[in-house]
């Protein structure tokens, strides 16, 4: 009889446990608490990075940033799951409620930022959405989990550090991910500048600019503007390719500009002169352009030299 009772009791315990499991269906916090990689997609390095920085932030401000990755959401929607998880973990200070949860579900390919009441003023929903779009999603789309999480985490860390006025060393440079990182405005200005340059540039036989001041007045401010716009748009390592693209556009446009100029000259002058002019720019395209230009660009000393790259000038000597 006793044996029977024990079996019954065990059965009962097992049953209640299984019911419990079904009801909660949430992951448990790990010992690290700040980083819980149940989907196993983060590198050791990233985990340590998150752990170290979250600990620092928490000790300075009591704000807690927690990263959780799960294989799946067990049929729940991510909003409910995140809220429940947030409460279960008890993220953030009890009174300040300043917790932030980054939850990624691998199978569903969902990610959510869940924010404690106390942080809602700083991390508004709109901002969360924007950060997701800018810092997480582009990487995650390409299955770059580790990078996406690390980058997005850094973005939020940086934001909180700024708002709480604390300094944490070695936060990785946060980088908005972008496939085409050329600022539209910078590109437009580059195109326009190139065109104007090609049009205005007028070189003598030695390849020297006949009117360097005019060229400088056109080229220096516009190119500075291009650099400024590019930097303003992209805070990361992608600046250089995008500036290079602007330069190329400028070069191409200056060639086109000089061609247009020559055509106008062609229509407005007697035949004899034009024949020589025809050759004049034929060569220009092939020589001098890119090297001369970028040299001038990087040193900043001579925008004329850079201008020399473009269409009109140098070619005349070829003939």
């Amino acid at each position: 009889m006793k044996k029977y009772n024990i079996i019954l009791m065990l059965l009962f315990i097992a049953l209640s446990l299984s019911i419990n499991y079904k009801v909660s269906a949430l992951v448990e916090p790990t010992n690290e608490f700040y980083v819980n990689d149940y989907a196993n997609i983060l590198s050791e390095e990233t985990e340590n990075y998150i752990l170290n920085n979250s600990v620092k932030l928490a000790s300075a401000t009591k704000a807690q940033i927690v990263v959780v990755t799960v294989k799946n959401l067990e049929g729940q929607d991510i909003e409910t799951y995140a809220t429940n998880l947030f409460r279960k973990f008890g993220i953030g200070d009890e009174k300040k409620n300043n917790g932030l949860l980054i939850l990624l579900a691998l199978e569903e390919r969902d990610i959510r930022i869940e924010v404690g009441y106390g942080l809602e003023g700083i991390v508004t929903d709109g901002l969360s959405g924007r950060y997701l779009d800018d810092y997480f999603v582009p990487y995650l789309k390409e299955d770059k989990w580790d990078e996406g999480i690390k980058n997005g985490y850094s973005a939020f860390l940086l934001l909180l550090c700024e708002k709480y006025n604390v300094n944490i060393d070695n936060i990785n440079v946060v980088q908005a991910y972008s496939d085409d990182d050329v600022s539209d405005k910078a590109m437009l200005i580059a195109i326009f500048t190139g065109l104007v340059y090609g049009f205005v540039s007028n070189k003598n036989k030695n390849g020297k600019e006949k009117n360097p001041t005019l060229i400088a007045i056109i080229m220096i401010p516009t190119n500075l503007l291009i650099i400024y716009l590019t930097i303003k748009n992209f805070s990361g390592l992608n600046i250089f390719p995008s500036i290079a693209l602007c330069i190329m556009a400028e070069i191409v446009m200056s060639i086109i500009g000089s061609v247009i100029k020559e055509l106008i000259v062609y229509w407005n002058t007697p035949r004899k002169r034009i024949l020589s002019n025809g050759g004049y720019y034929g060569g220009s395209r092939s020589t001098g352009s890119s090297s001369g230009y970028s040299g001038g660009y990087s040193s900043g000393s001579s925008f004329h030299g850079g201008g020399g790259s473009s269409g009109g000038g140098g070619a005349s000597r070829h003939f």
Partner: protein, 188 residues
């Protein structure tokens, strides 16, 4: 010791236990009731926030879409109803109507890629989605407390105390089944 004194002590003790019991259950019920009104006001705050976001959304959308007056009108009137609603039921209903109207708008928005890419619009959409999620969380919390409160005042022995002090059942903030259905959009 006299026998009657012992009886008296026993009776007093029983009465005291009953009194304490009544007091404790009463306190429990009051606490639950307080929680309910607290959570109800949470819902209210979020509903108001949602209503506040709508005019902004409508203005942004108006700049892009044409010939969608019906959808916009639907949203505006749903918002007004939400602000006018007083009881739990009215609020739940108005909120649901607003849900449907907004869903209809989101279907329309699919046809306007420029609007979808508009930063302001994306921001508003996030704010709205966040608010909606907060509403549903607040609603869940509220309903859970209402449930334990309602169960408590119906169960023995607390039901007696509830009767004595006239505690009544609270209403759930309920969403009807139709919420899960897709909204029908009239393109005519």
């Amino acid at each position: 010791m006299k026998k009657s004194l012992v009886v008296l002590i026993v009776i007093v003790a029983i009465l005291a236990i009953i009194g304490i019991g009544i007091g404790m259950s009463y306190n429990e019920i009051v606490t639950l009731k307080e929680d309910i009104s607290n959570e109800y006001s949470n819902i209210d705050v979020q509903l108001e926030r949602r209503a506040d976001l709508i005019p902004n959304l409508v203005n942004t959308v108006k700049g892009y879409v044409e010939h969608e007056e019906k959808t916009i009108e639907m949203i505006t009137s749903a918002r007004e109803n939400l602000l006018k609603a007083n009881t739990v039921d009215e609020k739940a209903k108005a909120n649901e109507d607003l849900d449907n109207a907004l869903n209809a708008l989101m279907v329309v928005v699919e046809n306007y890629p420029d609007l979808k890419a508009n930063e302001n619009f994306i921001n508003l959409q996030d704010e709205l989605a966040g608010t909606e999620n907060r509403i549903s969380t607040a609603r869940r919390d509220y309903n859970e407390t209402v449930k334990s409160y309602n169960t408590k005042i119906q169960k023995f022995p607390t039901n007696i105390i509830a009767k004595i002090f006239n505690f009544e059942k609270e209403t759930y903030f309920e969403v009807e089944e139709s919420k899960t259905e897709n909204p029908t959009v009239d393109f005519s």
